[in-house]
Symmetry: C2
Subunit: 134 residues, 2 copies
DNA sequence: TCCCATACGGACCAGACGGTAACCATGGCT
DNA sequence: AGCCATGGTTACCGTCTGGTCCGTATGGGA
């Protein structure tokens, strides 16, 4: 973890929201659910995010204990970001949020084509129970 | 509903987060789970929020279909805010967020006294199945 | 006539947040 | 010497958000 985690809200729900409601945090976390990713991988997976912002969001997630950052001293450098167990434990909550978001979209502007849920909607045989770190 | 709901993010999870992650929205919504509340009631229940900000948050919630605003033309004026069915449907998600928030608090700074969850942790005989509006 | 309660609305402001663009350090390869 | 890839960082900036303070409209009651 980077810093001793600056003061978060005391109410659990506000704390939870504060921790995951950054502009790209949910999407980033989603891409880490399947295992570690290098920064360059994430950059390629999420071209809409500038690298600076990506690093920023990752560092926030790290500071809040959701993401682990592993540096391999190689040339060229290799840095891997992975979800901690705390980060992984957020998945069901994210799924719930996603499902509610779909419901919300249907309830309001049903004319809009309902987009696929980025958070896995239903898992069959998945292997997200490995490198957990922290 | 106030406005036709300005464009929300397309990804369901981002949409959900955008809709509920205002500074006071979760807490406000919590207080509406049990039924309609007058603005003055909410002001008294949540003294830390200035009335202007309270109205602001309520109007956002209304614009996004989570809250219904009922005006009674009386003197002095009477305005009641209540959760719509869409708003009520968010409760389980908020509970999940709250539980995860507690877990997060314990995982990081367990020395801090774990605060009670503002979102009802387990309900016994509750009557939140009434005025639903929308 | 003045004051009260209710339910706002506008002016103004400071900080957080996200975004662009450019720069930097390392060491291998040619 | 110059270029490449990786993984950053720094400077700067515009917008959004929440916050304070104060004004306003209505009509009842003293």
């Amino acid at each position: 973890m980077a810093r001793p985690s600056n003061r978060l809200p005391v109410l659990p729900i506000e704390r939870a929201l504060k921790v995951i409601s950054g502009r790209w945090k949910a999407v980033i976390l989603y891409h880490l659910l399947d295992g570690p990713r290098r920064l360059s991988e994430l950059t390629r997976l999420l071209p809409e995010i500038s690298q600076k912002v990506l690093v920023q969001q990752l560092r926030d997630l790290e500071a809040h204990g959701l993401v682990h950052r592993e540096v391999y001293r190689q040339i060229p450098p290799r840095v891997e970001y992975s979800a901690t167990s705390l980060g992984l434990s957020l998945e069901p909550v994210m799924v719930a949020l996603c499902q509610w978001g779909q419901r919300h979209a249907e309830a309001l502007n049903e004319h809009d084509p309902v987009r696929d849920c980025i958070i896995r909607p239903a898992r069959h045989g998945v292997s997200a129970a490995d490198a957990t770190h922290e």
